[in-house]
């Protein structure tokens, strides 16, 4: 029985605490940057999708449908092995910096499609009368989108937007396929190192707890924000 309890000894995990914390720091850096960029991409894509110009609508639709049906691993491998290595398009000669930026691009490009869909469902909840009122006081398409429609749309979709961002935080783990060091890579390396194998279960629980520390408060924050910002209709 004592052997079994030995499986739950967290000591060796703390010895590798630096490596794990470093991994989570990588995850956080990646998540913050990708959250920003994917919001920008998603907003641009949704304004394409609702634009009065049919061609832009087609571009937006194709982007969303193609990206949403592609595995994230494939998107990230295309960025790192395909574009960075094969085409030699690089952000920097330093490999870690290059991998960081390509990981952000891939992750944001992928998440942006989901954000676009969430925002579009938000635009659909805005009553027609709002847009009619906006036009009747002489606002143009861009003005009514910017001042009337999007602010209301954003407020109705805060909760699903939060879910998308949480999914993105969890998706940062896939970036290890593209060669950027984050928490999943730390876990992989600790497991795969034959000289220094920490007990498996404590390591798993630690990494899982780390992600829960990142995702659960984000979820509660967005849930609270959604209630706070709800539009009364």
């Amino acid at each position: 029985m004592e052997d079994l309890l030995g499986l739950l000894d967290f000591g060796p995990v703390f010895e590798n605490g630096d490596r794990i914390l470093e991994g989570f720091w990588g995850t956080i850096r990646l998540a913050l940057m990708s959250a920003l960029l994917s919001m920008v991409i998603g907003t641009i894509a949704v304004s394409f999708r609702v634009a009065p110009i049919p061609l832009l609508r087609v571009v937006g639709t194709v982007y969303v449908n193609v990206v949403r049906n592609t595995p994230l691993t494939l998107v990230l491998l295309l960025c790192s092995l395909g574009i960075s290595t094969t085409l030699q398009l690089k952000f920097s000669d330093q490999n870690t910096v290059d991998a960081y930026w390509w990981a952000i691009i891939g992750l944001s490009f992928y998440t942006g499609a989901f954000i676009c869909e969430v925002l579009r469902s938000g635009i659909n909840t805005v009553p027609l009368g709002q847009a009619e009122a906006a036009r009747s006081i002489g606002l143009t398409f861009t003005q009514s989108l910017r001042m009337i429609i999007l602010p209301q749309a954003f407020r109705t979709v805060i909760a699903p937007l939060g879910s998308t961002l949480i999914a993105m935080i969890k998706n940062t783990t896939v970036v290890m396929a593209a060669g950027y060091a984050e928490a999943a890579l730390a876990m992989y390396e600790l497991f795969d190192d034959p000289n220094n194998q920490p007990p498996a279960i404590p390591l798993f629980l630690t990494i899982a707890a780390g992600f829960m520390v990142l995702t659960l408060p984000t979820g509660f924050f967005f849930g609270w924000l959604a209630k706070r910002m709800a539009v009364a209709r």
Binding site: P52, P54, P71, T85, Q130, T156, N171, V174, A200
Partner: protein, 328 residues
């Protein structure tokens, strides 16, 4: 598009039409410039060399390299789908139980597996058993471990050699996919049952059915039809997530593209593009199925429930009640 008023703009008049034509022209130019830049860059790196694309015209490349990968992808997706739906049904219903000692643990399990990344679960299944199993084999539980592996888990290729249990990539992938997607499906089922009007269960109770009958005969059949689109879109997510097997060297379609065909013929980008087209084709047909189902169910009046779709294909994150998200 028909000429009708939309939330954002009126049906265009003559001036607006002229302006739209100009803007269309500008966007065509910008789009062509982007395409030209990409083509130029590809050409610059000799990516249009026929030698790079020629392998995809040969039958042996498909039958020996790509199709086995595709087969593995589909096999993992199929097995994981069935198991995830089972897991989802069991835990979704357990969360609706009247007994707190069933409801609370089931809720904890579902929330846990939903809030951690899938890849971490796959790593757990792949790396942990060889480290943990020898210790268990020495303990009083050793006998139980052997019985479980030899009688049940061997189906997935799990092996036990002198107490050391090894898990093949396939089984690890299926484990992760089942746990994660099963938890999401459990929430879908729960949200589906909760979305039905209260009168449905009240009426069922009033004619003397018990909890079991209310669930089995009245609520579930209506909820399942309402949830069908959400379930199919979750299966698209599951199929896409099989690509994570690449990281633990599962020989799937992605592996075929990036580790076998690409390096063999030095045509990584070409192989990646072919593989993406296959993935997108499969997933789009599944997504189309989901849309078709949803349209069909909307016409169907035999269920009191409206279709539950997780908003834009994103399941509600843990910490947010599905009911909150559904409310608009």
């Amino acid at each position: 598009m028909s000429k009708e008023a939309n939330v954002l703009f009126d049906a265009p008049g003559p001036r607006a039409e002229a302006r739209n034509r100009i803007l269309t022209g500008v966007s065509v130019v910008v789009l062509l410039a982007v395409v030209a830049a990409v083509v130029w860059k590809l050409n610059d790196r000799d990516q249009f060399d026929t030698a790079l694309w020629e392998p995809f015209l040969r039958g042996d490349v498909w039958s020996n390299l790509i199709l086995p990968g595709l087969w593995n992808t589909l096999k993992a997706a199929a097995v994981a789908s069935v198991l995830a739906m089972l897991f989802g049904a069991v835990f979704g219903l357990a969360r609706l139980s009247d007994h707190w000692w069933i409801r609370v643990p089931a809720g904890a399990v579902v929330e846990f597996f939903r809030s951690i990344p899938l890849l971490i679960l796959i790593f757990l299944a792949f790396f942990a058993p060889p480290l943990v199993s020898p210790v268990i084999a020495e303990s009083p539980l050793g006998q139980a471990q052997r019985v479980v592996v030899d009688n049940f888990l061997f189906v997935f290729g799990v092996e036990s050699n002198y107490g050391v249990v090894t898990v093949p990539a396939f089984a690890a992938l299926v484990f992760g996919l089942t746990m994660y997607n099963g938890s999401v499906l459990a929430e879908v089922i729960r949200a589906g049952v909760l979305s039905l009007p209260k009168g449905q269960s009240e009426a069922a109770y009033s004619i003397g059915l018990r909890k079991n009958g209310v669930m089995r005969l009245v609520l579930l059949p209506q909820a399942i039809t309402a949830m069908m689109p959400a379930i199919v879109s979750q299966l698209v997510v599951l199929l896409k997530d099989t690509a994570l097997g690449f990281i633990i060297a599962f020989e799937d379609l992605l592996h075929a593209g990036f580790k076998v065909v690409g390096p063999n013929y030095h045509n990584l980008l070409a192989a990646a593009i072919v593989v993406s087209v296959i993935y997108i084709g499969i997933n789009m047909s599944l997504s189309a199925l989901a849309t078709w189902l949803e349209a069909r169910l909307r016409r169907n009046r035999r269920t009191a429930g409206h279709t539950v779709t997780p908003t834009a294909g994103v399941p509600a994150a843990p910490g947010m009640e599905p009911e909150d998200v559904e409310k608009k």
